[in-house]
């Protein structure tokens, strides 16, 4: 404990040299901007900027790259809330409720709460990384295929409770999403499935263009067809801040979202996107007003934003302790280390204490900087919505399509985005919930590969899901979640009977 504290103090002395402070600031600022741009996520942004780290002091370089990684989580919120276009993958759930809040004139509150949630969860996560990395890294390894399958199954079942209409509709949409996820190359065998000979479909349908289409473009289509929506959204200055009641109702969402996000981030197989989805669906279970979810629930938004930021920090645990990338961003971070001549691996923390502890200290500083950048800017950005929608709509369309192109540099993705824009429009008209589709698309590959891997590990026996202690706990949770509505229904039936007797 004392040892860790003195190491951390040493880390702060490294991170707070003027040069390194500047690199933290540059990193988080770039992350904020990259997060803002739809399509280019933090991983792609970091890769783009890798060449400028050549020749830098390794610690400064890694501090800056990591800054982009978590800065992106703050930045992605903005476009999600304001124009319903997720700035990066982990902000999809933010788009669901954030944009509804914006329409109710609460964009400022949504942005501020997201920033506060990200900050508190981020700081909590860094503290956990500092003190618990050795312990957590062995925990991270106890998660494997069977556990991932159960977590993904849990997420898919939870989609039933998403959206504002019936559970059956939500599940049907989720099944549609699972079907789309099958398109592409078989993740294990490498054979092509449902590609109809198209090379573009070999990689499958990525969920980011789908999300941009379903949320961003569909929203524009629906909005421009109704005249009254053309009025600028009412955002009064006093609505720009979080009220006391809002803060009180979101406190626990930050804690729960942060914990779920961190745990998910530590697992090498699941990243910030899965974390924010899980945090959202679990928050809905706990929330006092689950009916608001999908219609502008500030606690839902806070939970998923807190989760994605703490997941990003959690992903550093397997990276620092074992040299395993837990997410696309940490993979680039590892590549950055290698290019700087540092070999990652289980010995990294002993061999490069300056780098590791400097990085950890820099994350405290970086998160503070991001809060300072984001809080005053939230009302400024929210004021953008005062612009008449007629002027805003073309801009949103252009931004969405550029984002779709930027994600893969191919026009095929732009087409995918447009097609899903139309599907999204139809879904709004038919009152079908859109989040289950995106959620199924994200979880399907994890669910499919981990189920097949589990059964290969056990040579076909289902007992693998109860023999491993962690799996057993998760199996109980999944089965319980399936049975809960049935039990509730039975109880509800019996109650009038008892009363009548």
């Amino acid at each position: 404990m004392m040892d860790t504290l003195s190491l951390l103090a040493h880390g702060f002395s490294i991170a707070s040299t003027p040069t390194n402070l500047l690199f933290v600031l540059v990193g988080v600022f770039l992350g904020q901007v990259i997060g803002l741009l739809p399509g280019i996520g933090p991983a792609a942004g970091m890769a783009l900027l890798l060449p400028i780290t050549f020749g830098l002091e390794p610690t400064s370089a890694i501090i800056m790259l990591a800054g982009i990684m978590y800065g992106g989580m703050y930045g992605g919120t903005l476009t999600s809330v304001l124009i319903n276009v997720p700035g990066e993958a982990a902000s999809v759930m933010t788009a669901v409720d954030g944009h509804q809040l914006a329409r109710q004139g609460r964009a400022g509150a949504a942005l501020s709460m997201a920033a506060i949630g990200s900050f508190l969860a981020g700081i909590g996560a860094v503290i956990a990384v500092v003190f618990l990395t050795p312990v957590l890294s062995s925990m991270a390894l106890s998660f494997n295929a069977p556990e991932y399958f159960l977590i993904a199954a849990f997420g898919i079942i939870a989609t039933a409770s998403m959206g504002t209409s019936s559970a059956v509709k939500a599940l049907l949409v989720a099944v549609f999403g699972l079907g789309i996820a099958l398109v592409g190359t078989d993740p294990l065998l490498g054979t092509s499935r449902l590609t109809f000979g198209s090379l573009d479909l070999l990689e499958g349908i990525d969920f980011l263009p789908v999300a941009i289409g379903l949320f961003g473009i569909a929203e524009v289509l629906v909005s421009i067809e109704s005249r009254e929506e053309m009025e600028p959204m009412k955002t009064r200055l006093r609505d720009l801040w979080v009220t006391k009641t809002e803060w009180l109702s979101c406190r626990m969402a930050i804690l729960r979202g942060g914990l779920i996000g961190f745990a998910t981030g530590v697992m090498p197989g699941a990243g910030p996107t899965v974390a924010s989805l899980l945090a959202y669906v679990i928050e809905k279970r706990w929330s006092k007003n689950p009916e608001r979810f999908g219609r502008g629930a500030l606690d839902g938004l806070t939970a998923s934003e807190s989760a994605n930021n703490s997941a990003v920090h959690g992903a550093l645990v397997p990276m620092l302790a074992l040299g395993i990338p837990g997410s696309a961003s940490t993979a680039v971070l590892l590549a950055g280390l290698i290019l700087l001549g540092i070999r990652p691996g289980p010995m990294l923390m002993n061999e490069q204490p300056d780098l590791v502890w400097g990085l950890m200290a820099s994350m405290f500083i970086g998160n503070v900087m991001l809060l300072v950048i984001n809080l005053p800017l939230a009302p400024v950005f929210a004021s953008l919505l005062r612009i008449r929608y007629a002027y805003l709509a073309p801009g949103i369309l252009v931004l969405s399509l550029i984002g779709a192109y930027g994600a893969t540099l191919s026009l095929f993705t732009v087409g995918t985005t447009l097609v899903f824009g139309m599907i999204g429009y139809a879904m709004i008209k038919l009152d079908l919930p859109r989040p289950p589709l995106v959620l199924a698309l994200v979880l399907a590959p994890l669910m499919e590969t981990s189920l097949r891997q589990s059964l290969m590990l056990s040579q076909g026996s289902m007992s693998i899901f109860i023999e491993r202690p962690l799996s057993a706990v998760l199996t109980v949770a999944v089965v319980g979640m399936l049975l809960l509505p049935v039990i509730r229904m039975l109880l509800a039936r019996r109650r009038p009977g008892i009363a009548g007797a």
């Binding site: 991983a43 792609a44 970091m46 890769a47 890798l50 060449p51 050549f54 020749g55 991270a140 390894l141 106890s142 998660f143 494997n144 295929a145 190359t185 993740p187 294990l188 065998l189 490498g190 054979t191 092509s192 090379l199 573009d200 070999l202 990689e203 090498p268 197989g269 397997p318 074992l322 040299g323 395993i324 990338p325 696309a328 993979a331 680039v332 971070l333 590892l334 590549a335 290698i338 290019l339 001549g341 070999r343 990652p344 691996g345 289980p346 010995m347 893969t408 540099l409 191919s410 590959p445 590969t449 891997q453 290969m456 590990l457 040579q459």
Partner: protein
Amino acid sequence: MIATHLSRRLLLAGVAAAAGLASGILPAGAVEPRAPTGPIEVTVGTSAGGTPDVMMRRMAQVLQQTGIVKEPPIVVVNRTGGSWMVASNYVLGKAGDENTYLAIAQPMLTTPITQGLPNTFEKLTPLALFVQADLVVAVRPEFEAKSFKELVEIAKKKPRSVRQAGAQVGSTDYMVTGLIQKAGGVEINYIPFDGGGSAQTAFLGGNVDMIVLTIDEALPLQKAGKARILGVLNEKRRTDAELKDIPTAREQGFDVVWGQAWGLMGAANLDPAVVAWWDDKLGKMVQTPEWKKMIADNYLRSEYTDSAQTKVLLKKIYEDHLALLRTLGLSKQ
């Protein structure tokens, strides 16, 4: 029949050809080298952080830092999708373009084989192969086998009882497993993961017994007591201090020799003057202390072949892969 084996033989042929050059006999049609005008874009088929991506970024880094290439700038661009086919097709569509290049990596050769598509490498302009990585087979520290022989014995006792994590079916890991199964006459329970990172996680978590890694991945794990290296899949032992005690599979009686190689290709019909420029620049790059240090630090090898030699070598490597994938029943060509 194996890539690394052939590469060495061809290298000798290359040295002989170079000696011919030095003695003043210039090949017919030799041209004055000319640098491409405008930025150089190296297309990589994996996302940032993948091994081929890191190799290309290293090349760009060394070329620019040593001042071998001051102008034009070299940018690495990731075009993922279709197991390298998106990147290949992008460069295929740029015939005659002197700014667009493609990284050579195994999937560029194997995806057309496993998917039954026309070959890319025959249409593009080969420039060089310059990095090779050696592979090792490692097991969990508590696993009984201390050598290849013991591993094969255990696998023989109960078929499919030895579990191995690796990348997708058809990847390098999978091909190596195919060679081990053939050499030992055993069956291994191969569990594919969506990449080397996830396979390593499964291995470190004790979910499987065995894994195929590159040396730079395996050594830190062995040092930390998290893995035991059974053997390296080279023809001969490595001579580096840290590696000289690792026996080869061949000296343990199992003819399993396989490796990985990376390099660079240009678009179709690339101007011979630009090809000559690359020959000059990459030939200089592999001689720099910066490059040599990077190779040594990461336990890689740098057996450089110029554009003419690469054309021949690539064809050989392709045929090796085709033959192996055919015996594994994965070829659609």
